[in-house]
Amino acid sequence: QDTAKKAEAAEGPVTDAALSTDARAGSRLGLGRVATPDEVAAWDIDVRPDGKGLPVGKGTVSDGETIFAEQCASCHGDFGEGRDRWPQLAGGFDTLTRDRPVKTVGSYWPYLSTVYDYVHRAMPFGNARSLSNDDVYALTAYVLYLNDIETDEDFELSNENFTAVTMPNAGTFVPDDRAEEQHYKDDADPCMTDCKPGPVKITMHAQVLDVTPEGGGDESGPAGGSVD
C-alpha cells in the first residue's frame, strides 16, 4: 500500500478561511432587513447616566409612594427595607466598609438612570413592562425619597431634571486593575517545595454542612455571602 506516497502527493490542509467580515468596512451579506422606527422605538428602552434614552414624563414622590405600596412593598417592604430575602432598596449608608455591607440604591448605586432603566424593564417582578413612563418617574422619585436623597414629598422627577440628581456613592467605582495585584506579580515562578514553614493547620471548617437537600443538614442559611 502506497499510503505515504499518496499523503505526500495530496494537497496541504485547507485552512479555516477567515470568512467573517470586517464589521467596520466589510461587504454586506444582504441578510436580515432594515428595522422600522416603530420597531426601534418599541425595544430601545435603555437609559444612560447622561439621560440618553429617557422618555418624556414625570412623577412625584407621593405618586410613587402610592404605586410602591400597591406594587412593590409586598417584596421590598414599605420603606424599601426588603422582606425575607427580597432585595432591600433603601438604607445601608456607611456600611460598605463593614463586615456585612448593605448595598442599596442609596448606599451603593452610582447612577439614578439605572433605577429608571431597571424598574422600567424588569419590575414589578412577575409583571414586567406594565408601568407607564410617569409611573416609573414617580417610583424612581420615591426610591430617592426612601433613601433620603430627596426629602420633599412633592418633589417631581421628570426627564427635565433627571440628570441633575447626584447619587451618594457616585465616584467610588474604579477600573479593573486585578492584573496589577501583587500576588499575580509575585507568582510567575511559584514555589514547589517547603512553601510553608511548618505543617499546615486547618483554620476553618465549612459553615454549612450537608448542603444537599437530602443531606438533612442545616438548611436555614449561611453565616454570610450571597450569589449576586
Binding site: 467573517s20 467580515t21 464589521a23 466589510g26 454586506r28 441578510l31 436580515g32 432587513r33 432594515v34 428595522a35 420597531e39 426601534v40 430601545d44 428602552i45 435603555d46 444612560r48 440618553k52 432585595p87 460598605l96 466598609t97 463586615d99 455591607p101 440604591v105 451603593y108 448605586w109 432603566d117 431597571y118 424588569a122 417582578f125 414586567a128 467610588t172 467605582f173 474604579v174 492584573a179 495585584e181 500576588h183 499575580y184 507568582d187 511559584p190 514547589m192 510553608k196 505543617p199 499546615v200 493547620k201 486547618i202 476553618m204 471548617h205 465549612a206 454549612v208 454542612l209 450537608d210 448542603v211 437537600p213 438548611e219 436555614s220 449561611p222 453565616a223 450571597s226 450569589v227 449576586d228
Partner: protein, 403 residues
C-alpha cells in the same frame, strides 16, 4: 464518607467465586428496551443523583436564582447540556424560535432586524468555551461555607457552541466609527442587559444557537445567546433580542448594583469582565469521598482561565507546603476548561488537597488569603482562590481553610 480500607490488589474472592459472576444475571438473559423506547435518551436510573441542585435559602425565589453543575460527578471537559448550571433573573424564557427577533440599533448605518432563519444563513464557527458566573465561589469569600464542589464551584460549564461571529452581524448593520460599546439585551422577563466594549465584540464573541451540537437549551437562552469567551457569564446574554451600538457604557443594573467588586476601603471595581485563572479538585471532594481505602487514588479536577489555555496545574496533598505537577489532558482549547489528573498512592493518612493553575500568560491562581489581602471579603465576585479539601482517614472530605 463510608471509606473502607482494603489493601489494593490483594483482595481475593471466596473460592466458589462472586455470585455476580457465577450466577446468571437477568440482563445477560432477558431482553432490555428496544430502539424505539427512548427517542431522546436520558441517563441511567442509577445516575439519578447526578443532577443540578439549587440551595433554596440563597435567594428569595427560584425564578431569580441559580443551580449548580455536579462537577464532582463529571469528567472530561464537556458538560452535558442537561447539567449546565442555570442562572436567570426572571425564570426560563420559553420562546418559539419563529417568534424571536434580533435587532441591531444605535450607532450603525441602518438598524436591522434578523429572524432566526436569517441568522442560520451567516457563516458558522464551532468553539468550545467555559462559561463561569462571576459569583462562582462567591459564598466562600468569608471562609469555608458550602460543603461540596458542586456548590462552591458549580457555576461553570463548558460546551461547544455553534454560531456566527458577532462582528458578522454588526457588519450587516454597518458600524459607525463612533461605536465604542455594545449593549446586549435579552428577551426574558428581566430583559437582561450588559455593556460590552466594542473591541471584545469584534474579537471573539459569537452569536450562538447551538450547544454541544443541538439547539441551545431554554435554560441557556434558546433560541439564541451571546458567547463572550473568557468573560463573566452574566455578559453572555441569553434569549438575545437586541444589540445597540453606543459611544459609552450604559451602567445597567448588572454592571453597577451587581457585578461590581466591593473592596475593603469601600471603593468598588467596575467592568471586571475577565475570569481569572482558577482550578478546583472535583474528586475526591465532599460529595465524592474516597471509598476504596488506601492505595492507588486518582485526583482529578478542572482548570480554566479567561486568558486562554492552562499551561500547568500543580496539586498539593499537604495544604500547599509541597506541590506536584499534575497531568493536563491534551484535548482542550483556549478559554475552555482543562481536565487534570494526579495519580498517587494514598497511605490512608489525613491530607489537605489543593490545586493551583497557571495560564498561558503566566498568571498563577492565588491563595484565598492573598486575595483577601488586596480585595477584602466583600467582593462576592471573582473568587479564584485555591480551594482546600480535607481528606480524612475514613475517606470523607470537608471544605476547609488552612494556615
Amino acid at each position: 464518607g463510608a471509606g473502607l480500607a482494603v489493601a489494593a490488589g490483594t483482595r481475593t474472592a471466596a473460592a466458589e467465586g462472586d455470585p455476580k459472576i457465577t450466577e446468571l444475571q437477568d440482563w445477560n438473559r432477558y431482553l432490555g428496551p428496544g430502539v424505539d423506547a427512548a427517542p431522546y435518551g436520558l441517563p441511567s436510573e442509577f445516575e439519578k443523583d447526578v443532577v443540578r441542585r439549587d440551595v433554596p435559602w440563597l435567594t428569595a425565589d427560584a425564578t431569580s436564582s441559580v443551580n449548580f453543575t455536579p462537577l464532582h460527578a463529571l469528567d472530561g471537559i464537556i458538560t452535558p447540556n442537561g447539567l449546565c448550571f442555570e442562572r436567570h433573573h426572571g425564570g426560563v424564557a420559553e420562546i418559539p424560535p419563529q417568534d424571536h427577533r434580533l435587532m441591531i440599533n444605535g450607532l450603525v448605518d441602518r438598524p436591522m432586524v434578523f429572524t432566526m432563519e436569517d441568522l442560520y444563513r451567516f457563516p458558522r464557527e464551532n468553539r468550545v468555551y467555559f462559561l463561569e458566573c462571576a459569583a462562582n465561589t462567591g459564598m466562600e469569600w468569608r471562609g469555608a461555607q458550602l460543603n461540596g464542589c458542586q456548590y462552591t464551584h458549580g457555576m461553570v460549564h463548558c460546551v461547544m457552541y455553534t454560531g456566527t461571529p458577532l462582528r458578522n452581524l454588526l457588519n450587516e448593520a454597518g458600524l459607525k466609527s463612533s461605536g465604542k460599546w455594545l449593549l446586549a439585551e435579552g428577551a426574558d422577563a428581566s430583559a437582561m442587559t450588559r455593556s460590552i466594549p466594542m473591541e471584545k465584540a469584534l474579537d471573539d464573541c459569537l452569536v450562538a444557537w447551538k450547544m454541544n451540537g443541538e439547539a441551545l437549551r431554554s435554560e441557556q437562552g434558546y433560541p439564541v445567546r451571546l458567547v463572550v469567551p473568557g468573560w463573566e457569564g452574566n455578559m453572555w446574554v441569553k434569549w438575545l433580542r437586541r444589540l445597540e451600538v453606543g459611544d459609552q457604557p450604559w451602567e445597567q443594573r448588572e454592571e453597577t448594583s451587581k457585578y461590581t467588586d466591593l473592596l475593603a476601603d469601600g471603593k468598588a471595581r467596575k467592568f471586571t469582565f475577565q475570569m481569572e485563572v482558577k482550578s478546583v479538585i472535583t474528586a475526591p471532594s465532599p460529595q465524592a469521598p474516597v471509598t476504596h481505602g488506601k492505595g492507588r487514588t486518582v485526583i482529578t479536577g478542572l482548570a480554566w482561565s479567561g486568558n486562554g489555555t492552562i499551561r500547568r496545574v500543580d496539586v498539593s496533598l499537604d495544604g500547599g507546603r509541597n506541590w506536584h505537577a499534575a497531568r493536563i489532558d491534551p484535548q482542550s482549547f483556549p478559554k475552555a476548561v482543562h481536565r487534570f489528573y494526579y495519580d498517587f498512592d494514598w497511605d490512608g493518612s489525613e491530607l489537605l488537597l489543593q490545586s493551583r493553575a497557571m495560564d498561558e500568560k503566566g498568571f498563577v491562581q492565588p491563595t484565598k488569603e492573598a486575595l483577601r489581602k488586596v480585595r477584602g471579603a466583600n467582593s462576592i465576585y471573582h473568587n479564584n482562590g485555591i480551594q482546600t479539601w480535607h481528606l480524612k482517614t475514613d475517606g470523607a472530605l470537608e471544605n476547609v481553610e488552612v494556615s
